[in-house]
Subunit: 160 residues, 12 copies
């Protein structure tokens, strides 16, 4: 069933949509683990971290929507089903149960740092394929790098 | 690591939090498959169904947050991690790829109908355990039953 | 022509939808007589009563919509046509023509009081049938009892 | 009980208020049958028609309020009680029960078309009596003609 | 010093601008006496009348602005200076000092009634001269007649 | 392909829709030349004129939409395609390239003045045909005459 | 002086209003000690706790208003005078003077925990008397349990 | 435990904070008795007085917050605990139970009048000590004097 | 007819209310001549001056309301009737007819400068009588001095 | 008449402004044909397509403004006059008269697809000339590709 | 070049504008060091301090604008150029590079404390010169003293 | 003290942060000289230029914040202290004292033009180092080029 004709050559479309699909899973996964930490964090920084996490979740959901609709617009159906996320999602994530605030900050710093590194590879990969997709990935990277800094600064000079 | 002392007796807490945890997975799963359909639906009702699905997603996300925070408030950490959803989620869901509008309507009607049936069991189960939790489940049921009707009416008298 | 399959057993559905249909007529009728009084009230309390009545009308319209859509969601088409209201509506109502402010306050107190008494019977009737419908009727009752108080307090200790 | 002295000569007032009273019943009736269709419509255009109908209802309620308050301002009490609407209302209306979307569109096109034809007669009738009342009827006609077009266009070139 | 060339023939312009200038003085005067009463009213209806008067003032100021800018647009400078208002303004007005609420209601009913009567003459006078100006006067009349009713209804069936 | 049945007799419809179609072209043309001047104006009044022009454009676009939808509601398809505007549009307009502020003010004063003169003819033409259409043209004229004054006053007593 | 006739049987009214009056004192007291802590808290969590306390105060004031107006609607005058609160209020509260942030968190956790325990008793007590009152108490309990969790999580796994 | 170093000399600080503490109790007390009257007022002016009282309460709460935070900023912990208010609050106040509207107006006029008289003494007392505190007390006095007038005018020329 | 008992000694009240009454007339007059200039200004600065004048009018109206209600709160009825303004108003004002922009700027600079000078005298006069009234006059002076600067800066270094 | 000195070398400016001018015509043309279809569409998807088209028009107008102001900022006057659009505009467009909904969807899909293809060429052309202009074209392309998908998905798997 | 004539005698103007100019530099400096700390703070209170600092910056910018425009209104041009700030600014400030949260809190407490002490001297200095300027300085002092408290309370009883 | 680990290789980070630090100083300087001109401009274009300057200041502050937080996110502390700005800022700037409007326009055109030229160099410099930083600089350039045009167009064809 083909519906949306691509505005890109076949190879460019393949490269772009692969980058978009991988980004989609990272972002949906981030939104889920962000909420997981939002609900389970405890400790003296509870309130700060609780609200900081909701900003990550809101950002991840918004970017996920943009990324998925861009794949759709290029004629490749995005896949964000639960089983796909569970199978593919590979960023650091919190364990089950309560989460000390310092640990929540550490795991989000790592998850966002890994997400950024993966996005930078996709920015390179899409340079030739589609500048429109690349531009979208650049703006998501800018946002996640800012989010990562806000967690990292929180743990401060002693890493605690 | 125990942090939040429960305001309920042990058994009541166990029953309530089990109902809340199961509801959490249903709602997070609904929000994911709702978005999946939102991105992949095609056909003459595309725009109607596309926006209707976003209302389901928004409702599911909001209810999931309330449900998870209630479990936390009762002293039991909620679990909404990707692997948990993938393992536990059991509502009807769309397949990978493009989705005809009639099929999107059908699958959402079924998913919402199943979710409602499960919620009604939990409403019974929590009657003795915790009226506050029960009241929350009642209001979620009201909302999902309305959403289900809006899809079912869409397929109309001939089921198409 | 059956479209919306019920999520309730047949008898529970019958009881719930009867309660909802009766409530619908009471609320639509209230919204019409509230407006009738809003337009025709005269006397030194004109402005107070004029605006108080509009709050009743707004509340009645909102609740009527919720009640009718719940019946629809349970698979029973609600009936709010002019002839149905005229035939079934049984609350106290103002006569044709101008309405002194004291009389407007009296008739609305009575109409709201009667509506509340009928709602309390339906709250009992739906307890077994459907807790979701019952919960909806409870919240409407809370609102109408507040509205009734605001009129009754207005006539004050001497009943004028 | 006379309260509001008219700013118009007796005959002009009689003609104007008759036009206003008849328009009031048409508009209140429209708001009731609009809601009736809003709740009971089914079929593939459900969502479009469901929301389109709410715009008719909102418009009809707003115009009804303006029309009734103008009659009051001219010293003639408007009559919008349930029994009056049931007795006088004469526009095409939906039957009891579920309503296919094509049928909902057809009945609303007819109801709005009839309402417009009656308004045009009243615009002629009030020309001599009261230009202020006439101007109000003109603006209501403009709005209902637009609403009628939006339903008629919906059934399209084949009338389905 | 002529700046704005008229879009109307000379006689039509003269008639229209005379009607507009007279209306301007009535409206500016209304806004001043409305505020005077707003500040000085006392009695059990103080709060109702105090706020009702502010609605008259807001309406009068808005209409005055529209009327003056229309005269300017037709090339005739409007005159709203204090001495002009004092010399020309001829509507009933409150005396100096405190004002019982019943008296405030009475004087505003009279002032608005007189303003309406004068507007109706200008509606006739501008029919031939300029339908655009006439339409503006019609809409101001509709608003002032509504305001007048809200005061008159306040004094109620016994005129108190 | 006839879809929307007219609520007017044939001749009245023809006259009304001709007036509406001609007005549509004037307004769409105004919105285009308003933007053209908005982008190209230079000189010490740049900022004032730049924003004043955007108000003309917003007004012209809004009125154009109303006018076109009224034609559609009367059963005559409006025509606002680029080639139609280019062929029919006959108001004064700026040349290509930069535009001194005094010249921008002059050309907009002329364009709006011509548009008003043409609207006044259509107000006469539709008096018999359709008071609803006439009323719409009257309100557009009021707005454009105000806009014209704001430009003409800007060039001031010396015409510069 | 009896004004508002009850819509409940005498005994049901007595039980409901006692529960409401006791809840009113708890909530007004909570709003006062919440502000007391809001002004006097010091320490590294100052800003987090300062704002968290304002959310408790806002919630307590809103619920107090609802509870008091429900008692009034049932015909029993609520009592929220300073001397009544001072005499009856029995929740844990901060001492005079500055308050370390850890201590503020501890005292609010205790105060909210006690308030919840007392509300749960009243939920039982009103089950037979008045489901409308019970439903109100249930929703207040849900909110206070969430507030309590947000403080308890703040002190974290080590209770500091 | 000293935390906040004062920016004022010791004596100036003592005088200012005494004035602030006394004002805090007056304002918190006003907010409580204002609500007490808001809930219990009855009579033909019910709605006017009911809403007027809520404006007093809102003002009193806002000023209380400013006053308490200023004391804290000067290094003296404010005291707004229930027992402190009950012991110190000395303004006229309503009795328990229902309150006729005329009586509510009278008691609020007296309470506000007494509060203003006490504030004027504190304005004198802080003139030398701290112009910043004095300025704050001046603006609170302006507001309470306006509130007092709105009640006094309500009882009107006959004091009823 | 005395209604509002003063919170000030007789002499202080007399001095304060005289200052307030004189300020009221200045402000109402300013609002009228500001509008007069707003409607009649022409020239290349038309748009700037037209909007600047509306800010003066809005400020003058707001301050006039505050000033009049303060007089009322002190028990002295303010007088803002047309004849009072015409008799007492003594600030520089524009002549009848069109007004060049440079002239509009000049006359407003003068009017605001004179108003400020008179306010400064009243600030001195009320120092002993009532610090609350003085504080109000101080804040009005700050605002009018800012408005005056914005006109004076407009005429620039050459006074044109 | 040269006013705005370019911040780019001559050749870079020429290339950039040619790309911007061509894009301007495409976008203004899209906004006109989008409105043309908005007014004339008929058929069962009328309401969906009617509103979808307004989103295209809003996007096209906003992008046209940005594109034209960028050309102006680079010192080259943009040209958006009616005759220029008519002469240069080359995207697929609807014919005169009523437009079936399927046909409206088809023509907009084609028009947006062609616009995107042309934008992609200009993205290449401006890479060397001006990254700022290129970035603007990239973001417009992203938006139009999304719009195109929303129409294409609407016609669904069978192209109808 | 003299443009704005002063409304104050020469000496009063000199004193007032000196106080305003010195305050301007303090506030602009505060806004710069506030942002410096906002960007460079690290440690467990990162988020709290980061946002608290933005409130100081917003307040400082707003007050700086008011202060500078008051100097301009008194006819003395304010000086807020980079070199002036660098030369004159004398409040405690953070060093280059990262800033521990405790240190950020300490340096802002000191900077605000010094700013307040200097403002208090200027409040004395302007008492005779200009009560309007003094009133402005009083309100800025109130705000900065509150900001200082919020930082000082943050470091808590142990000064950390 | 290293806290934030970079997501870039060392050399790329050095190049990016140098570009960001230089841009930060340009933007903070622009915001200060923009305000300086905002307060001191005089002449017939006062109001236009006064508000245009505030738009530059708002834009410069917003971009400065983004630029500084990006440097922080890359692990290099930004430096925006007063002495740094004074030492490094090198754009054209207004002198002390009053500023004629033509001169204000000229100096802002030059300052923005120089800022743009420097940004274009940094866009080249960061192309290899970090596309995310480059993209941020591109969007700031687009905005400043638009601001520059709005000033340059203001001086018009004759450069005055």
């Amino acid at each position: 069933m083909t519906v949306v004709r691509s505005t890109l050559p076949e190879e460019a479309r393949r490269v772009s949509c692969e980058a978009l699909q991988d980004t989609l899973v990272d972002l949906l996964g981030l939104s889920l683990i962000g909420k997981q930490a939002h609900w389970n964090v405890v400790g003296p920084r509870f309130r700060s971290v609780h609200f900081q996490l909701d900003e990550v979740v809101t950002a991840a959901r918004t970017h996920a929507d943009t990324v998925a609709e861009r794949a759709a617009a290029l004629g490749v159906p995005p896949d964000g089903r639960p089983e796909t996320i569970a199978k593919v999602f590979a960023l650091p994530a919190p364990d089950e149960g309560l989460l000390r605030d310092t640990e929540a900050v550490r795991v989000m710093t790592d998850a966002l740092g890994t997400a950024v590194a993966r996005l930078r590879e996709r920015i390179d990969a899409t340079e030739k394929a589609d500048l429109v997709t690349q531009d979208l990935l650049i703006s998501i990277t800018a946002d996640l790098e800012k989010q990562r800094w806000m967690f990292e600064a929180d743990n401060g000079p002693d890493g605690t």
